[in-house]
Amino acid sequence: MKRRNSALSRVFTALVFVFLYAPIFLLIIFSFNAGNSNIVWSGFSLNWYRELLHNRLILRSVYTTLLVSLLATAIATFAGTFAAIGFYSLRRRQRNLLNTVNNIPMMNADIVTGVAMCLFFVAFFGLWSDFANWFNGVQHFIELPSRLTLGFGTLLIAHVAFNIPYVILSVGPKLRQMDKNLVDAAQDLGCTWMQAFWKVILPEIKPGIVSGALTAFTMSVDDFIISYFTAGSSSSTLAMTIYGMTKKRVTPEINAVSTLLFVTVLLLLVITNLREARLERMGADAPRRSRTAERIATVFSTPKGRWIQRGGAGVLAAGFLTAIILLTGATNSHPVVNVCSWGEYIDEELITQFEEETGIAVNYQTAESNEALYSLLKSGAGDYDVIVPSDYMISQLIEEDMLEKLDYGNIPNFSLISERFRNLPYDPQNEYTVPYAWGTVGIIYNTTMVDEPITSWDAMFDSRYQGEVLMFRNSRDAMATALLKLGYSLNTTDEAELREAFQLLQDAKSRGVYQSFVMDEIFQKLEGANAAVGAYYAGDYISMLENNEDLALVIPEEGSNWFMDAMCVLKDAPHKEEAEVWMNFIASTEANLANMDFIGYASPNEEALAQYPAYYEELYGEPLDPEIYEIMAVPQEILDKCEAYLVLPAETRKLYNDLWTELGI
């Protein structure tokens, strides 16, 4: 049998390994890049490793990942081993049935498991809150937390749930391979069955347990989809952080952290494998039977075994569940505020500064679009305190009674907000919102990749730019580009007009005009000259310009959309006070200046808006280009040509959803 491989098949195997490792080596190489690109090499540097030490977001998510993976592996290995022994001792019929159920989480698509878990947790939280309210009502000794949220606890349960099957699957065969007489022999020699377990079974199935634990841990670390649906707003794993980043630019700190993880695991595996190989060479496996026999002979009682013997496993499981419930509840009592905003939409220094000044920890997450944010809120997966939706979405949330009225006494900095940005149509009495930033939508294009300057929305549907156009990946903004071209109102509810606009998009898509539908991926695509034309928010153009000077922005002649994003607090938010402290902090002139400089959107704070050019000059030692300032703080005469989104009636929203899904397929 041991006929050697031909050179050809060896080359083939080697090529497959090259295929597997090429992207990884690329990641590792670019973690040492001096620049922040994953394509252009600009010299060797350890800069990103230094930066990594200061990146709270990444470090925290690495911590969460490792903690959840280690805990889940430990729990799953323990529970899975016992479950496997239990299964093994069942009658065949029952065992087959249970094995089938056990296989479900492993065989099911991750997304289905994730979705099912998410639905289950949210439904459970609903029941629990009824129960806790009733319980707190009838007695006053113990105060149960009435509001549970997705968080570390649910993340852990989900990971344990998908890890156990791997452990069972790896321990099961070892149990079946075991010589059954060994157990009988042990008992004949006076072992209790518990002792027989510790002294005989466990050593026999140890390799299965170890490989099960390893698989479980690997699966936990690699998992993204299930975590995505069960982690909620207060914890993110590394995978979730990375997913957030892949939507725009992956900072090379992520390359650095992956390199470190990779090297650690590589070393660990090399060491254990070398050890095993050495043991194998020494023939340590040969006297195995005698060692097991020896174990049977030197039987003595183990205090370890006793409590499990007394049905302790059941108690343990109950205790574990209680601990998790308390843990999810307990996370609510820390001074913390959960914020959900948009990508590249805050100067992260501000978060650190806020945490240092107030001692309130900030969980900062981002949503992709207003529509995605709405889904997150509705499905219960996003349990935030502060959100920063845009105007029309704010109206919708108010309409559905999802926002809390603010106590403006706690937000003195609200007085700095310009008069013209108060009492806007989305919040006419200004009871719910503190404006965050505003801007317009424009077309950004690469001047070297088009023949003539773009002036009209026609460009978004023009076959000349086939395969070069980036379209919004959210229904409202995408439809707006078509409505603008057609000269219709952005707030039209006329079905014929909307269908005409949809037809325009559909037609352009089928002609291959769109290279892709994007949100924040547009940064990387336009900066890297991977696409020529894209519609996006004007403020982001300024960030892109810093990385690619060939880009130009136009507010097309037909007019455009202008928008206001404002901070709101969700109904019954557990940290309303902290939320108001946060909003007050962000509304300050200093924070607005820092933000304006970082994100390129205009500030609603009149002082900050006026002071920005001076601030810029002081910071960079050169005056601000007035053209740039005009793009940020769009002058009123251009704003007059732009229309704000209003909330649409429910049936129009349904039409948008349906058309959007249809366009996607």
């Binding site: 006929r3 050697r4 491989n5 083939f12 195997t13 597997l20 992207p23 990884i24 690329l26 990641l27 394509i39 479950a83 239990g86 001792s89 249970l98 159920v101 492993m106 065989m107 099911n108 289905v112 099912a116 878990m117 639905l119 156990i164 699957l169 065969p173 009988d184 008992q187 069955w193 698989t215 670390v221 690699d222 649906f229 995978a239 892949t246 992956v250 992956s258 993880l261 590589l266 494998n273 496993a313 343990l316 529509e371 995605a372 889904s375 509705k378 499905s379 990946r473 229904s475 290279q515 892709s516 000259a529 991977n530 696409a531 959803n657 959007w660 899904t661 249809e662 996607g664 397929i665």
Partner: protein, 284 residues
Amino acid sequence: MKSKLSRFAVPYVIWMALFVVAPIVLVVIYAFTTAEGSFTLENFASMGTYGVVFYRSFKLALIATLICLLIGYPVSYCMSKEGPRFQRAAMVLIMLPMWINFLLRTYSWMSILENNGLLNQLFQKIGIISLYNGIFGTDYRFFPMMNTQGAVVLGMVYNYLPFMILPIYSVIIKLDNSLIEAARDLGANAFQVFRRVILPLSLPGVLSGITMVFVPSVSTFAISKMLGGGTEMILGDLIEQQFLGGAYNPQLGAAISLVMMVIVVVCMVVMNRFGEGEEQAVML
């Protein structure tokens, strides 16, 4: 003895009832209700609209699975013929990439495949693009590789290839050598030994590999989003969009999830027909 040990199964049975069965029951309930909570079949009726997505998902996932099989089987076979030290190292090398999150690995492919990415830059430098343009009279600045179905398939193959190699390898390595020797003694040549003995005996590994590649491929959403640019939506994207994406409709999402589950059950049934061997095969 045995009956006493069987009580160990009880906590886990309760656990499964709670965290495996109950969530699935919930999905089923959602799939058959309207947003107001009354019974409906509309979620399934409206699925006809998404026929294109179903077709595309199956097509891409099947192609990816086939490629994985065509690459994975020979690799497993070659690995099993090498010395134990090589095998050990190879196993480590196959497991290791999973330690760099798949999103990052996929992102890395983006920088390779982009219009202005590493491959296209390389092609430009060594003149392949101008050569191609010269021969075919085309006017390419680059080869469009990103945002195509091919890129999505590549992402699937890249990410799920280990799931094909591992089960096949673990079955081949356990093959009884005497069977092969017997076949050879009886006059079979190398090809016949492979076709008549090794291939049939490794079938359980192949089947579990196919399932382990096909299921995640058909249901991924991150890979198609990143490499397909949102123009090549597959089932995973559709489900994600209904729950956490831009078109909130959990009932429809649950209905599609249910269909996915049925697909998985069908796969499992097919696999179970090939007997007990599968259980070891699924394991690494």
